[in-house]
């Protein structure tokens, strides 16, 4: 399979000024040593709990946040250190689009759904001419399951699910190669969630777009992804194909995450205790294994040394001292 995006050793450290007259500087390492790739036309699921750096990673790829270090290769070209030359920036933006969780906040309330799409078309000069643009927008709207008549309506006239469809329309109208989807269905009711997921799958099939699908919901990630990355406190803990990850989860955290995800199957035996103890502890970042305080397979080395990545099976990578 052809690789389209590769991320190498991506890091993001946020600096927070604290103390008297902001003289002290605290560094928070939000993303640490993150490397992965996305193939053409595939969906890479990025799953993790709040504060694991999944959104920061996505935002660095679309250039909403500047990485502290590391490289992002798009079609072989390093774009992490984006030269401020507007032309190449536009080119990258056109190819890497984003869909956000809060569809209301990401739409301008004073632009109609059609104008929101048109704005993007004008900036990137995808289609010109009034009539052609209208036809193109009608086609895109049909792709995302919206009616022609809805083109001239304002964001507040749409329901949450329909607004997310406008967000998708805006992203796909530029014919991008990758879409970074940051929790696109998390705010929606289940019945609507299913409609949007199906629609995103149809669009992927039709246009061959790759998705980086960021979510905290393991069930949704399992449904939509080809490969899955599990993140925890800024580190990638495990990476594998979907089948492999769910059949043989290696990292103790992945296993706990699978067990903690509520299932609707009433016949499954109920556990008698939660899968994980304690809560995340950011003070462990960069000191030892960040998961050491919650892990049930913890040993001395986990408290002393940061684990590195091992390839346990073909394409199945895990960051844990157990698999050294």
């Amino acid at each position: 399979m052809e690789e389209i995006l590769r991320v190498e050793k991506l890091e993001k450290h946020f600096i927070k000024e604290t103390g008297f007259l902001k003289k002290e500087k605290k560094v928070f390492k939000a993303v640490n040593d993150v490397s992965f790739h996305i193939n053409k036309g595939e969906t890479l699921g990025l799953v993790g709990e709040s504060g694991c750096g999944k959104s920061t990673t996505g935002r660095m790829i679309v250039d909403l946040i500047q990485p502290t270090s590391g490289s992002i290769f798009f079609e072989g070209k390093n774009i992490a250190d984006r030269s401020r030359d507007r032309k190449s920036q536009l080119e990258i933006r056109k190819n890497i689009q984003m869909i956000f969780q809060d569809s209301y906040a990401s739409l301008d309330p004073r632009l109609t759904a059609g104008q929101a799409v048109e704005e993007a078309l004008d900036i990137h000069r995808i289609v010109t001419g009034k009539k052609e643009k209208r036809e193109y927008i009608e086609k895109i709207f049909a792709d995302v399951g919206l009616q022609k008549e809805q083109i001239d309506r304002y964001p507040h006239e749409f329901s949450g699910g329909q607004r997310q469809r406008i967000g998708i329309a805006r992203a796909i109208c530029l014919q991008p190669k990758i879409i970074i989807c940051d929790e696109p269905v998390s705010a929606l009711d289940v019945s609507i969630q299913a409609q949007i997921i199906n629609n995103m799958e149809e669009i992927q099939k039709k246009y061959g777009i790759s998705y980086l699908f960021i979510s905290h919901d393991l069930s949704v990630v399992k449904h939509i992804s080809d490969r899955v990355i599990v993140m925890y406190l800024g580190y990638i803990f495990e990476e594998a194909s979907k089948e492999e990850l769910f059949a043989r989860p290696l990292h103790p955290y992945t296993r706990a995450l699978v067990e903690a995800t509520p299932s609707t199957n009433p016949d499954l035996p109920k556990r008698n205790r939660p899968a994980l103890k304690n809560e995340i502890d950011t003070s462990l970042i960069g000191v030892c294994c960040p998961f050491a305080n919650r892990c049930d397979s913890v040993s001395d080395i986990c408290w002393k040394q940061e684990p590195s990545v091992t390839e346990a099976a073909d394409g199945h990578k895990v960051r844990c001292h157990l698999y050294k």
Partner: protein
């Protein structure tokens, strides 16, 4: 507790919105009742009506809420005596219920000192005991902290500890685990189940998440457009859903332990409460809809196995329990 024929309406400029439109259920001691529904189904308004904390312009139009032989809606003094004591509620965002400028200790001991007349030290000790019950490992330290120091899971534990401190009999959890990470959500679910087993309290657990309901609830009520559409043991609801809405809802959820090619969807979206379809409120989205469904509203029927369902499909197969 018995909730009978509860109606809560919102009187807006655009018309009367019947958020809760005839809800009946009863809650036994030590039972965990799950109420599930999508946004706008009226699940939250229904439980807020129990405590009479429905925000304006909402008003309880009709109904009875019988708790220990007293009707909380008719007896004006009764609700003041049970609200926040016998019946307490925890919310999705505990930060809105905690005072940000007071320490956890101050907020937790306030009620204890007031109700039991203890000294500061004694009250602190009692507070620590309650915090231990909700699995907080360093309660003494926690008492000196402010709410913003705590994580979401910790705050929710503090809220549960407050409920324990008043010796609550019924705990209402309104999407109490929705904002939490799954691993923390699971910890809270187990905590609630353990407290129920140990203290025999009853819990009404409201959520939009079928998986969570399956983990926690003994019995489940499925709400849609202000009415209970189906009620049975949680196992029955998950295993043999009878109402087309429940069935569709279960099929639309991506599953962690099964492989689905394509998710089935429910066409359309939840209708506005101001413009409900004639007849059955689900008729405009139902795949098994008949002419009768569009014209006549179905009644809740109790089938032979005790399963209750509001759908014309089951007409004549059981006894009508409410209109």
């Amino acid at each position: 507790m018995d909730v009978k024929n509860l109606h809560t309406y919102f009187y807006t400029k655009a018309g009367v919105s019947k958020a809760v439109n005839g809800v009946n259920f009863s809650l036994r001691e030590g039972e965990i009742l799950g109420i599930i529904g999508e946004s706008g189904s009226g699940k939250s308004v229904a439980v807020k009506s129990i405590l009479q904390i429905v925000p304006r312009p909402g008003k309880i139009a009709e109904g009875q809420i019988i708790y220990r032989g007293r009707d909380l809606l008719a007896d004006k003094q009764a609700i003041g005596q049970v609200r926040g004591k016998d019946i307490t509620m925890i919310f999705q965002e505990p930060m809105t219920s905690l005072n940000p400028v007071l320490t956890i200790g101050r907020q937790l001991t306030e009620g204890i000192r007031l109700h039991l007349g203890l000294s500061k030290e004694e009250a602190n000790q009692r507070a620590c005991e309650f915090l231990k019950q909700v699995k907080i490992t360093n309660p003494e330290e926690l008492l000196t902290r402010y709410p913003h120091h705590l994580s979401g899971g910790m705050r929710q534990r503090v809220m549960i500890a407050m409920a324990l401190a008043t010796d609550t009999k019924i705990l209402i959890a309104d999407e109490a685990t929705t904002a939490l990470d799954v691993t923390i959500q699971q910890q809270i679910i187990y905590l609630l189940k353990e407290l129920r087993d140990r203290l025999h309290m009853s819990i009404i657990f409201i959520t939009h998440d079928m998986g969570v309901i399956n983990e926690i609830a003994d019995n489940t009520a499925v709400m849609y457009c202000g009415k209970i559409q189906e009620y049975a043991s949680t196992y029955e609801v998950m295993k043999h859903p009878r109402h087309p809405y429940t069935e569709a809802l279960l099929k639309a959820i991506p599953s962690i332990d099964a492989e689905q090619q394509k998710l089935s969807t429910i066409p359309g979206s939840v209708p506005s409460l101001l413009a409900l379809p004639e007849g059955c409120s689900f008729s405009n989205r139902c795949t098994q809809c008949t002419d009768r469904c569009r014209e006549e509203e179905p009644k809740l029927i109790r089938l032979e196995d005790g399963h209750r369902v509001r759908c014309w499909k089951y007409d004549g197969q059981g006894e009508v329990v409410d209109s």
